[in-house]
Each structure stands twice: as C-alpha cells, then as structure tokens.
C-alpha cells in the first residue's frame, strides 16, 4: 500500500517535471519566434506612436463606448476601438468630432451607416434587408426541429413492439435460462 502510494507520488512528480519541461521548451520557442520577428520586421514602418488623447475624458469614454459597437472596415474582425488601421483612426476622429458637436449615439451610427453601410455595425438594425441575418438561424433551427419531429414520428410507426404468442414467450424464457 505504502509502495503504491509512493509510486503514485513519484509518477506525479515525474509528470510535473515533464510539464515544466514542455513549458520551458514552449518559452524558448516563443522567444526564438519573437526575436526572429524582430530581426525580420520591415524597417520601413517605424512603430507608430499612439495619438495623444483628447483633453476631455468624458468624450473619450463615449468614443470608446461607441467605437466598440462599430466595425473597422479595413481589418474587418476588429472593432473601431481596437483597430490600429489608419482609416479606423480617421473614423475615431470623426466620431470624436460628432460627440463634441453633441450628437446622440444613434445619430453617430446613422452618420457611419449612411457612408459605409450596415456592415459597420456589429449589431445591425432589424429591418427587411437584415431579416435573413437575424432570423435565418432560428428558421433553420425550426426546420431542423420539424424534420427531427417528422423522423421520430415515422420511426415510431415503423418500430412497433412484436406481439409474441404464449409458445414463443415460453421458448424465449427457455433460451434465456439456458444461456445463464
């Protein structure tokens, strides 16, 4: 019992040593990759400095809030808030100006939708053009549920429990007894 316990502990220790080793290898790899990237980075694009924040923190807070809801057109899976693309910077400037002008959130969104289409919104408005987008998945789900229901009903009709005569039942019992 003691020996078993010991060996279990040892195995555990060996395992942790192994994970430590893989972690170390991974770290070495990451460092190697980073240094490779640093060496091979094109020198023509110097690291761009972040633009100084506007003086009004209230405006900045609203800008951050709104731009999380907006999509960057250049790097399409990034929000306007997180994108470093130049266009995103320009659009943030535009949104900042609109905030300073006292425009409401919906007015700002309309400004961008009028120019870039519903695509700039991560949550497009519900209207006939976007119905397929909003309700399509649920429609597919309903269709699948209906198909499943139909299939199950059909199967229920096909698989009816066989009716056994007394003689058959007796024989089945006998067979079961023999195997046991």
């Amino acid at each position: 019992m003691k020996a078993l316990f010991k060996s279990g502990k040892m195995a555990k220790r060996a395992k942790s040593a192994k994970t430590a080793k893989t972690a170390k290898t991974a770290m070495v790899l990451v460092v190697a990759m980073l240094s490779w990237a640093a060496v091979h980075a094109t020198p023509t694009t110097p690291p761009r400095e972040a633009r100084p924040m506007a003086t009004n923190p209230k405006v900045e807070a609203r800008l951050a809030e709104i731009s999380h809801e907006l999509r960057c057109l250049v790097c399409q899976n990034e929000s306007l808030a997180s994108s470093h693309a130049e266009l995103a910077e320009d659009l943030r400037r535009e949104v900042r100006d609109l905030i300073v002008q006292g425009k409401s959130d919906s007015e700002i969104k309309t400004f961008l939708v009028e120019r870039y289409g519903d695509f700039v919104l991560y949550r497009p408005e519900v209207k006939p053009v976007t119905w397929a987008l909003w309700f399509g998945p649920f429609l597919l789900l309903l269709l699948a549920a209906a198909a499943l229901g139909m299939y199950l009903r059909q199967r229920k009709q096909q698989v009816t429990a066989p009716v056994l005569s007394d003689a058959q039942r007796e024989r089945a019992k006998q067979l079961l007894k023999d195997t046991l």
């Binding site: 399409q76 266009l87 120019r115 870039y116």
Partner: protein
Amino acid sequence: MKKFLIPLVLFFGLVVFLAVGLKRDPREIPSPLINKPAPDFTLPTLAVGGQFSPAEMRGKVWMFNVWATWCVACREEHPVLVAFAEKHQVPIVGLSYKEIQPQDEAAKLAEHLKLQVARERSEVWLKRHGNPYVTSVMDLDGRVGIHYGVYGVPETYIIDKQGVIRYKRVGVVTPQIIADKILPLVAELNAS
C-alpha cells in the same frame, strides 16, 4: 420515393452555398451610396489656387477616382484610366486621398506646406504615369474620403448628370470592368 436522394440534394445545396461564398470577396462591401446624391464638398485642386466642388459637373456623366502616389494598386490601375480617358468622352476627376500619411516625415509640416508637398508629389507622379484627370483635388485629411465611404484606395465612382452616384468600384478598375460595367452604364446614363 428514392429516400437516398434527400441527403444528396442537401449536400449539393450546401456545396453550392459554400462555392458561392468562396468566390465572393469579403472585402467588397456594398456601398449604401449607390443611387444617392454624391456628397458635396469644396477642396483645393492640384493646380495652385483652384477649387473644385462636384456641383461643377452637373449635366455631365463623370468618373470620380480616388488615388494616391503611395497606393501600389493605383500603379496597376493608372494605365487603364489613361487609356480610358484617351478613348472616351467621360471626364475623370481624381481625388488625391491622404497623400501625406501619418508615418510620413512631411506629416509634421504646417498645413499649407503639407498641401505644397502633396501637390509636388502628385504632379511628379502624374507626369511619370500620365494624367487621365480633367481636374485633381487634394483631400489631405481624408474627410471627403469618409463622406464617400472610402476604405481602400483605389476606389472609383460613376456619377450621373443629376449628381447621383450610380456605380462604385472598390479596388483596381480593369479593362474588363470598363467594357462590361462602366461603358454600358455611361451610355445608358448619357442617353437619359
């Protein structure tokens, strides 16, 4: 009924969907500006002292082409535009979009000097590659670009006699696009 046909049909339906999806360019975003009046603006022209606004083009079917000297794809597109301008009677107005980029040394200059530098660069570039434009306008801060929904250079618009945008192309205009889309559209708009 042949039941095995159902999954087969479903499978081919899926294949068709995916095939169409693969062929579509995710970067091409339908512009909401089609069939809307072209946004108005007034900008300095490439020629010193001049100003341009789209209202001047009323009564003409014209092409509005967004370009920049730093734009690599524009170099590919430019000969097509030069040939188009020579062959057809469609005026092309060029919009020099954000000629001075933020990482550019010239970005630190004062506004009027920036405009001067941008003009010089654009002129040199147009001399070298040919100038298809009846007028070129300078959009240094990219604001007019935003009003036109520009998100990648080059972009090209066809604007009708009433000043309504009828067509937008994001990316390089090819001879095929000119033959298949632009020329028939221009003919149709000129006839009306």
